[in-house]
């Protein structure tokens, strides 16, 4: 038994926790006019957290808190990306939240606690730690959705999100408890050991697996556990949708890795969950892409597009190989990059009391602002997976992982549905480029948003021309951690 616990692997989380409390209190003494101070503090905290993650990073896994917490390469990479994503989100969301009276201390405190939850999830080496992080994230997100308390839609979305989220958490918890029953431990590394050796209560283990996969399906938003996604995406204030749709996917990917690839990664169990993931993946691709075609609301459309992307992500995971996990991680990074850009542009088009949610609001964007239209064009082609944008390589890596294990027919299904998916992404391009604008109000954005959005959009093509570093990072991170 180790009595002295090294704290340094958890420095980023500790720093974030302390600063979140400080900001929560400090904000009480800041007047509405000076709220920008809270904003600055939050961004500085996140930047500091990213730096800490970077400098405490290490290639070999380090366990601490009696093996409840792990700091490995995958955790470092995902935490770093999470911090960067949240910083980006807050920059994009600033004008929007100011205009809607959401630019308050609570928003930032909740964002920080949600980030903390994600980081704990990513670094969890124990089912309790994992659950703790998950609940911290979820509760913060429920509150964020309901932050606009006068909005009926937002309240409804929050209720829906809360109830279904709680149900999912319950399932996950139930699965975990059975896992404990079957193996007698909650620690992920030990679970991996035990399940690989084969436990006596194999049936209980498989039963646990079903609940865990269902719980993860809920959190990812994969069919048939996707019902909350469109309503929450549409109902939540756009800035919060941006939050929900992007950074938490890193954490969701991490717990999928921890639970399925690590804890239950034994050969016999992979065969069990591969079938479940396969059904979820194919259904997500089908329903996500087909339903997205019928949407007229952009947020809702992106919600269904998220569902189909999660299907692709699951395809990478279900291969059960390091390459496949690496492809999944690459996919999730690319997905978050694209989602940030898309919602960033939606937020940019939204001004005053006007929400740019309908597809028709994008008509003739090329004539109003060629640069933003071009960025959106890149993002849409990337979502559709057309080279030379990075979205193509994400799909390529996943398809390769699937073909490698001999499931080429799944790859054929996946590409057929991406063809269908291409249609609704193209429709956005069509609206922006082929149609005449409805109103000619020029788009205004602060310098920070403009720069970040441009970098975000161009990253899609730059990473498309040079995808090698990111791909290697993902594969290495997974290899070093699983």
């Amino acid at each position: 038994m180790e009595y002295i616990t090294p704290l340094w692997p958890a420095y980023p989380e500790l720093f974030l926790l302390v600063m979140a409390c400080v900001i929560l209190i400090a904000d009480l003494f800041i007047s509405d006019d000076n709220r920008i101070v809270t904003y600055g503090l939050t961004q500085a905290t996140l930047a500091g957290c990213a730096l800490l993650t970077f400098f405490t990073g290490n290639a070999e896994p380090v366990y601490t808190f009696s093996g409840m917490f792990v700091d490995d390469l995958m955790a470092d990479a995902l935490k770093l990306l999470t911090c960067v994503a949240v910083i980006t989100i807050l920059v994009y969301a600033r004008a929007y939240t100011v205009a809607r009276g959401m630019f308050r201390g609570e928003f930032f405190a909740l964002a920080l606690f949600a980030t903390l939850g994600m980081m704990v999830m990513i670094s969890a080496n124990h089912l309790l730690t994992l659950y703790l992080g998950l609940e911290l994230l979820s509760l913060s997100l429920y509150a964020m959705v309901a932050l606009q308390r006068d909005s009926v839609r937002a309240t409804e979305a929050a209720m829906k999100y809360f109830i279904l989220g709680a149900l999912a958490s319950g399932m996950l918890l139930y699965g975990m408890s059975m896992l404990y029953g079957a193996t007698g431990t909650l620690e992920i590394t030990q679970l991996a050991q035990l399940s690989a050796d084969g436990v006596r209560a194999q049936a209980v283990l498989v039963f646990a697996l079903v609940f865990i996969v269902a719980g993860l399906g809920f959190k990812l938003g994969a069919v048939p556990f996707h019902m909350w996604v469109p309503d929450v995406y549409q109902g939540a204030p756009t800035a919060v949708t941006l939050f929900i749709g992007s950074a938490p996917k890193f954490a969701a990917f991490a717990i999928v890795m921890r639970l399925l690839a690590q804890a239950l990664g034994a050969e016999a169990l992979v065969d069990e969950w591969r079938q479940m993931l396969l059904i979820m993946a194919v259904l997500s691709l089908a329903i996500g892409n087909l339903t997205a075609i019928m949407q007229t609301n952009l947020k809702r459309m992106l919600a269904y597009s998220t569902i189909s992307h999660m299907g692709f992500l699951l395809l990478g995971v279900l291969s059960g190989t390091i390459d496949g996990y690496g492809a999944g991680m690459f996919y999730v990074v690319v997905y978050v990059l694209m989602t940030l850009g898309c919602f960033g542009l939606i937020l940019l088009l939204t001004r005053g009391g006007f929400e740019a949610e309908d597809l028709d609001d994008y008509r003739g964007l090329n004539q109003r602002s060629p640069w933003y239209a071009f960025l959106m064009l890149l993002l849409m082609f990337s979502m559709a997976g057309i080279p030379p944008t990075v979205g193509f390589y994400a799909k390529l890596a996943v398809l390769q992982a699937v073909v490698q294990i001999g499931m080429w027919w799944v790859a054929v299904i996946a590409v057929v549905f991406s063809l269908i998916g291409a249609f609704y992404y193209l429709r956005i391009v069509k609206l922006m480029y082929f149609d005449e604008p409805r109103d000619d109000t020029p788009l205004r954005a602060g310098g920070d948003v403009r720069a970040l959005l441009s970098a975000n959009g161009l990253a899609v093509i730059v990473l498309g021309i040079a995808p090698q570093p990111l791909m290697v990072l993902c594969i290495e991170a997974v290899r070093a951690s699983i």
């Binding site: 073909v403 082929f434 791909m471």
Partner: protein, 497 residues
Amino acid sequence: MMQGLPLLSLAIWVPIVAGVAVLFTGGDRNAQAARVIALIGAVLGFAVTVPLYAGFDLQQGGFQFGELRPWIEAFNINYHLGIDGISLLLILLNSFTTILVVAAAWEVIRTRVAQYMAAFLVLSGLMNGVFSALDAMLFYVFFEATLIPMFIIIGVWGGSNRVYAAMKFFLYTLLGSLLSLVALIVLYNAAGGSFAFFDLYRTPLPMLLQVFVFIAFFMAFAVKVPMWPVHTWLPDAHVEAPTGGSVVLAAVMLKLGGYGFLRLSLPIVPDASQYLAPVVIFLSLVAVVYIGLVALVQADMKKLIAYSSISHMGFVTLGIFLFNAQGVEGAVIQMISHGFVSGALFLCVGVLYDRMHTRQIADYGGVASRMPVFAALFMLFAMANAGLPGTSGFVGEFLVIMGAVKVNFWIAFAAAITLIFGAAYTLWMYKRVMFGAVTNEHVAQLKDINIREFLILGVLALLTLVMGVWPQPFAEVLHVSVSELLAHVSYSKLPVQ
């Protein structure tokens, strides 16, 4: 002296960089600057391809001007370029066409000039990439990326039904290429983790897998060529595209399909290609004969030329799948000749459309009396389209028919019918548009072509004639490449039992 320069990379990236530079001229206030930069970019882009021809070694087999750099090491994908005689001609054709397209749009395109020019320049660079890639994934990336600028070109500057045409164009071609993507990944695993053409050419494959891969490739390339019955996107795209779009589409883009057959299908899955050749030949003959008849009844000039394109491209696929030297060389020559002739015909229709804003044959009549210079040039291209000896159109068709006779007389007979149909629909259209009495006052007010239009059409006319009477410079670069290709095809890749 040219050895040091990465000429192929220049051929790809000079137009693309020029295209991006054009975008920076901004809105239509600086339209003239955009035009000038675009023209300089296009000329430079062509200039860097000329040393390729000058430095091309006729005796040497394999690929020349090679460049090899690691690109995505995680998947063993390399930035691997190189050309043989077939790619050389297509690269020259592509870079040359770009100049014509930029020049042809000079006064005609008045809205969003910078974006228009940029789209064409980028497209030109990407297509050079397709023709020079020696890594299957690099090939695929360039092949797919060409869809984006073309989609924008048709959709933004096209005619009234442009949205439908652009979507149809994009989704049709995407379907084929996505399936071939899966096929490429399967091949990658079969070859032990390599996308290099050289490795794929060597990998033995069982027959069933070969057939699947062939079908996937066929979906991609047949849609692009386009072959009957997946040709229906082409008339829509052509009719709605602006003149420049039609020219590039017909002159170069369709060749991506033919080139794909030559570079991927034949050498990678030779046994399946031999096995399924009768099917492809049948579909080609349907295109040649049936589509020729369809062209006859068109009332819209652009549609007529579009169908004529499909019919002529049928000759290309026919020639490729005859598997003899005449057939394949004829197919490549036909591709180049079709590039000149169909490009010129679309430009001619563009000249008329700019003045009259109609493409209906019925709205014209007696144009020759008002535009004599134009009529003479148009006549030449019409004759070339009909395959008149002495024009470039004759050489390719003649070679393909010769190749066909060697295989089966009746195939040759069916193919030869096109010479009659081709003459019928082209000359009949010409007669209705150009000859007879002046039918209405719009025609009466027509002005003959200006110096810019004359230069564009004149250069094409010269090339059509030169290629017709002296095809040697075009044919000689092909001999070694084609015989190597045929050696690949005749060599079975079935695993030894």
